[in-house]
């Protein structure tokens, strides 16, 4: 069985941990800075007042003038979610996190340990205690997600293989991962339930709605039996730098980032492993937080390369920073980077270099040039690039 643990509105719940009294009042996660003014998840009190997640901010405030906006705290949410996932892993489940607040795991390996499917799921629910989690289980991944989406807080909902079709049929189309316009298109055609979509011919759906529609149709019929791949637990290597006062200067932040990278890469716990994924987090003035994760194109232990990869992220910081934190999220094993016995194209490069050397010898210094782009955006073609003599 594939189980799906879902904690709706996890980001809001994590942000409300600092102000628990707001959980009982109409509150919503404030829109992302720089993005569309759409509110995030809302509390039950806000929902009762008519506010829906994804509403425009103005509309939400007009609907419920008492609505309190809570600033997102992505770093705290990430940390809290990591605690939930680790707690599940400690209980013996191989967890595949899908998003913050949604994770899949396979129960087959632990059913005997806990004495059956239901006790195993109860153990998982207990591992995510305090978050109003709910679990859906089914033979197919999408059916498990759908079951978790309709379950009540603290409820286990198991859908047997023979019941999948009947279970999915009355559920709304909004559970399917399709574009809003596609959803509206289907609704205008009178298709509002998953069962109605599943009853249509697949080729007709694909023709009308394209590949996304075909995928949604396939999910409406239960979806493919995809396996759950448990994640590799992240490493716990992190360094934090606290500033004596809030810093907004990019140069200072770049230097701080450089210092963090140098320190972290030099940590003995890293040993000979290479860094595959890093995360940069910041605590902002006013209590908010910010976090960006980055997977390096090629695992590296070179501080310079990691710094260059991360530096552009600093420009995305929404405000002055009180604390900068760098985490090595994923490290490869020492054997994870296989060096080539013979570098690809090495012979071609040697021949090219020799050819250029001969051209230079016969025509003189400065005759071999390299093209350097200086203003590729320019509307004047001759100012976009220069050719610069090279003698190396």
């Amino acid at each position: 069985m594939i189980a799906c643990l879902s904690i709706p509105g996890f980001d809001l719940k994590a942000a409300l941990r600092k102000a628990p009294s707001l959980a009982l009042r109409p509150a919503a996660l404030s829109p992302e800075p720089g993005g569309e003014p759409l509110i995030g998840p809302v509390t039950a009190a806000a929902e009762a007042a008519g506010v829906r997640p994804g509403m425009r901010l103005g509309e939400a405030l007009a609907t419920c003038p008492r609505l309190v906006l809570v600033d997102a705290d992505p770093a705290a949410a990430e940390q809290a979610w990591e605690e939930v996932v680790r707690s599940l892993e400690d209980a013996g489940f191989a967890v595949e996190p899908a998003a913050t607040g949604v994770a899949y795991f396979e129960t087959r390996g632990v059913e005997r340990l806990y004495g059956g499917l239901e006790p195993a799921l109860r153990r998982a629910l207990a591992a995510a205690g305090g978050w109003d989690a709910r679990i859906g289980a089914a033979g197919r991944r999408f059916a498990a997600l759908a079951a978790a989406s309709v379950a009540r807080p603290g409820q286990l909902l198991v859908v047997r293989d023979e019941e999948i079709g009947r279970f999915l049929a009355p559920l709304p189309l909004t559970l399917l991962p399709i574009d809003r316009r596609r959803y509206e298109e289907l609704e205008s055609l009178g298709v509002r339930r998953i069962g109605q979509l599943a009853g249509l011919p697949g080729s007709a759906v694909a023709e009308r709605l394209g590949p996304d529609g075909r995928r949604a149709w396939s999910l409406a019929r239960g979806g493919a039996a995809a396996r759950v791949r448990g994640r590799r637990p992240p490493s716990e290597l992190a360094e934090t730098l606290e500033f004596p006062e809030a810093v907004a200067n990019e140069l200072t932040l770049r230097r701080a980032l450089g210092a963090l990278v140098e320190t972290l890469v030099a940590r003995p716990e890293r040993r000979d492993r290479f860094v595959r994924k890093v995360a940069l987090a910041a605590r902002l003035v006013g209590g908010g937080s910010w976090r960006r994760a980055l997977t390096l194109r090629e695992p590296s232990a070179d501080a310079g390369r990691i710094r260059i990869a991360l530096a552009p992220k600093l420009a995305e910081l929404p405000g002055p920073v009180l604390e900068l934190r760098l985490e090595l999220v994923e490290l490869t094993e020492p054997a994870g980077r296989q060096l080539e016995l013979l570098a690809a194209g090495a012979e071609d490069r040697t021949r090219l270099r020799e050819g250029l050397r001969q051209v230079r010898a016969s025509t003189g210094s400065g005759s071999v040039c390299t093209v350097v782009e200086v203003a590729p955006w320019s509307r004047i073609p001759e100012t976009r690039a220069l050719f610069v003599p090279r003698d190396d």
Partner: protein, 92 residues
């Protein structure tokens, strides 16, 4: 003593790529090219204007044409209104 002449043959300065080259263009009454470097134009594929650096003492005011010559060659020419005269240019 034999002097090394190699270094004196090439000047080590960076050059511009796709620098405009003077062209002989015969325009028609509406300003579109009819002949480019003595080759008749069979088709004007595109026309656009570039107005830039108007705030400097060397403004750029060009009327570009992408043309196909009767020989089949595809080329870009422009009339430089600031300097006067026609030019061909690659990479436009």
């Amino acid at each position: 003593m034999v002097t090394d002449t190699r270094d004196t043959r090439a000047v080590r300065t960076a050059g511009r790529l796709n620098e405009p080259r003077p062209a002989r263009v015969e325009p028609s009454f509406d300003g579109t090219p009819q002949r480019v470097n003595h080759q008749p134009v069979s088709l004007v594929r595109e026309e656009w204007r570039v107005l830039d650096r108007w705030w400097t003492e060397e403004p750029v005011l060009r009327r570009y044409f992408e043309v196909v010559l009767e020989t089949g060659e595809n080329t870009v020419v422009f009339l430089d209104r600031a300097r006067g005269g026609w030019f061909t240019q690659r990479g436009a």
